[in-house]
């Protein structure tokens, strides 16, 4: 897992064109996502994309740059600013056999389509038996000074609704493999792309058009024996960095990257706790009822006999993501916070 930090543009979001893989063949997370979309559009002509400014402009983050030239405006549809209708249209098109992939300019604006997502998309198959192979994708997460309306982690809202598979990958390969799986899945799915990762993390990514990562399976990104850090998204990278420092002082952290947050891979989580007997649940969604809350509750219920210490949660408070750098830094869990929490747990 060779990863590397790449610097973002001025605002850290939306600043640069998509570009291609580097000369070393590595792909950023953003490029890996674009490749997944491109390959699936090539593979299956029922797949099409819709969203705001994704065609002519290539998307606010330039994920879909160049797509309209290859696939035409019918399959790369620029829509009006009407999120309920973007979702509703995706549902209707899926009912008639198409496989829509809707882009939200920011995952924040999924809330503007909330009712169609949670009332129609999430419930239709259970109630009426009609499969809805719809993918909703969009950039989520903070850490780029984009403040409250461009930084949210909305996954808990949609996980609570049920009926939608939700992915929050941390690495380019996982992003590519999961997005391809999501597009091929007959169920609704939500694919959240962490904007802090977009251009910062790159690695070697498979070019095999059949490269898939299974939805619903977590992945141990680092083996360890003292404490399990259960996490996902951008926090995986913070955990990895913290674990280096921890290792140097003899604390061995295991890092479980959930990758899919709904449904949850309880097995992999519990296996790790069996091994370490200590759990730090680290997440960027808000603390109260964020994804890690479910992880903590699962551990408390199903791994009780293995636990040697309390299940500790490390997450931001349930307040709007603040803009000012010192506030946002205080809001987000930092590497030092992770180290301190792991140290406390290890010493229990």
């Amino acid at each position: 897992m060779a990863t590397q930090q790449v610097e973002a543009g001025a605002a850290g979001h939306g600043a640069e064109p998509r570009g291609k893989r580097g000369e070393d063949g590595q792909a950023t997370y953003l490029i890996a996502i674009a490749e997944a979309l491109w390959e699936e559009m090539e593979r299956d002509e029922r797949v099409f994309m819709l969203g705001e400014d994704i065609g002519v402009y290539g998307g606010a983050f330039k994920v879909t740059e160049g797509f309209i030239d290859r696939f035409g405006p019918e399959r790369v549809m620029d829509t009006p600013i009407a999120e309920e209708t973007i979702v509703g249209m995706s549902v209707g098109a899926a009912m008639e056999g198409l496989r829509p992939v809707a882009e939200f300019q920011y995952a924040d604006f999924m809330s503007s389509g909330f009712d169609e997502i949670t009332t129609v998309l999430s419930r239709y198959h259970y109630r009426a038996g009609v499969p809805l192979p719809v993918v909703l994708r969009g950039p989520s997460g903070g850490g780029v000074r984009a403040s409250s309306f461009h930084s949210i982690n909305p996954e808990p809202w949609y996980a609570y609704a049920g009926g939608i598979k939700i992915m929050c990958p941390a690495f380019p390969s996982d992003a590519k493999g999961l997005l391809k799986s999501a597009i091929r899945d007959d169920n609704p799915s939500m694919f959240l792309e962490h904007k802090w990762i977009y251009r910062r993390i790159k690695e070697q990514v498979s070019e095999d058009p059949e490269f898939l990562v299974p939805i619903g399976s977590a992945d141990v990104k680092r083996e360890g024996s003292d404490v399990s850090i259960i996490t996902y998204g951008a926090m995986v990278h913070k955990a990895l960095e913290a674990s280096e420092a921890l290792a140097q002082r003899g604390v061995s952290a295991e890092i479980v990257d959930l990758r899919t947050v709904y449904p949850l891979d309880e097995e992999t989580i519990l296996r790790s706790i069996e091994k370490t007997s200590r759990a730090l649940v680290l997440y960027e969604s808000y603390r109260f009822l964020g994804i890690g809350t479910e992880v903590a509750a699962v551990i408390a219920e199903k791994a009780f006999e293995h636990l040697d210490a309390p299940v500790v949660r490390l997450a931001p408070p349930n307040v709007p993501v603040p803009f000012s750098p010192p506030l946002e830094d205080a809001f987000l869990p930092q590497i030092a916070d992770i180290e301190a929490a792991v140290d406390r747990l290890a010493g229990w």
């Binding site: 509703g88 098109a93 009912m95 598979k165």
Partner: protein
């Protein structure tokens, strides 16, 4: 009462005399009578406490429901609301399975997962399973229409909502988007003059809903919703227009809700004279029956036969529903995902998903 606003939809030459062959006119009368009888009987059962859940009577509005649904071909799709069960029956849903749905049985179209008019039969008759949130199916209809447009099949989506539902943002989004993309969709607003207790004047500040089509570049037509043939003609024109690729039409069909919003509502807020006027002079079933008699299309005996058929079907449906088993409690966690296979083999599914 019909008047055209914005772009005028030209009357079809063929409708100058009787607009349809006699057997089809008789079929329309059958649907009207079926709807009326079903509505009355179910209300009675509800009052006797013999029906679980709620009922949303469409009595007085049968002209709209039958008229618009009859204008569709089998492959065209229908996106109705809570009050439009009659439109779904007209589209072809089986009464007995509808009734099984009301009683929460496994043979209901949604296998007991939803009840009363939250019904639909997508694979069988291309009707969308109703959801309560108003008008949540409007944007979905855009998507089906988009698929038809792209496939070039000439199919059409038709969506219905009430007068009150037009106040909701989704209504605007769907109309606007459908016009931008020139989608093959027909927007029907079933203006029964009340949204629960709320009269039109408290929902919008313009005289008609039809004229609002202009704000989207969509022709708007206002029609007497108690006149089934007029509704059919207007809807048929709109459907053909969409089929030709000329984009959406907005139809406002005006009638009055004879009963309360739902079974428990005595609807005291409806002015008595208004209600009497509609019940006495604008009964869509009686008026159409009289028209067919006047035209010599049906005899008194035909009408008696139709009524007998309707009543027989109702009894059969009722028996079927009560004999149908309840779903198994353990089923509650089945069908979260397609791969569970819960819905495979469902009658009307013609095996397997279309999506995969």
């Amino acid at each position: 009462m019909r008047r055209t606003v914005a772009t005028k939809v030209e009357p079809d030459a063929a409708t100058a005399g009787r607009p349809l062959p006699d057997d089809r006119l008789k079929e329309i009368l059958y649907f009207l009578k079926l709807a009326r009888y079903f509505d009355e009987r179910m209300e009675a059962l509800y009052r006797q406490g013999r029906l679980p859940g709620a009922i949303y009577s469409g009595r007085g509005q049968e002209g709209t429901h039958v008229g618009v649904a009859y204008a569709l071909e089998p492959e065209d799709s229908l996106f109705p609301t809570h009050r439009d069960l009659t439109a779904q029956l007209t589209k072809g849903l089986e009464l007995k399975r509808v009734m099984a749905q009301f009683w929460g049985r496994i043979d209901g179209y949604l296998r007991g997962r939803d009840g009363n008019s939250h019904i639909g039969d997508w694979y069988g008759h291309r009707t969308y399973a109703v959801m309560s949130h108003l008008p949540i199916a409007y944007p979905v209809a855009c998507g089906a229409a988009l698929a038809y447009q792209r496939a070039g099949t000439g199919h059409v989506a038709l969506a219905i909502c009430g007068d009150g539902a037009t106040s909701n943002g989704r209504w605007h989004e769907a109309l606007n988007t459908s016009s931008v993309f020139r989608l093959p969709v027909v927007w029907v607003v079933n203006n029964n003059q009340f949204a629960y207790s709320t009269p039109n004047a408290k929902e919008f500040a313009v005289p008609t809903i039809a004229e609002r089509g202009a704000a989207y570049g969509i022709p708007g037509v206002r029609v007497d919703g108690t006149d089934v043939l007029e509704v059919y003609r207007v809807a048929r024109e709109a459907v053909e227009r969409a089929r030709r690729g000329d984009g959406p039409t907005l139809i406002e069909a005006v009638s009055l809700r004879w009963r309360g919003h739902a079974g428990h509502d005595p609807a005291k807020y409806v002015p008595r004279e208004l209600l009497e006027h509609y019940m006495l002079s604008k009964d869509p079933v009686k008026n159409f029956e009289q028209y067919l008699k006047d035209q010599g299309v049906v005899t008194e005996e035909d009408v008696t036969d139709i009524q007998a058929r309707v009543e027989r079907e109702f009894e059969e449906g009722h028996e079927y529903a009560l004999a149908s088993p309840f779903p198994e409690p353990g089923d509650v966690t089945k069908g979260w995902w397609v791969e569970d296979g819960y819905w495979v083999g469902e009658p009307g599914r013609a095996g397997g998903t279309e999506a995969s």
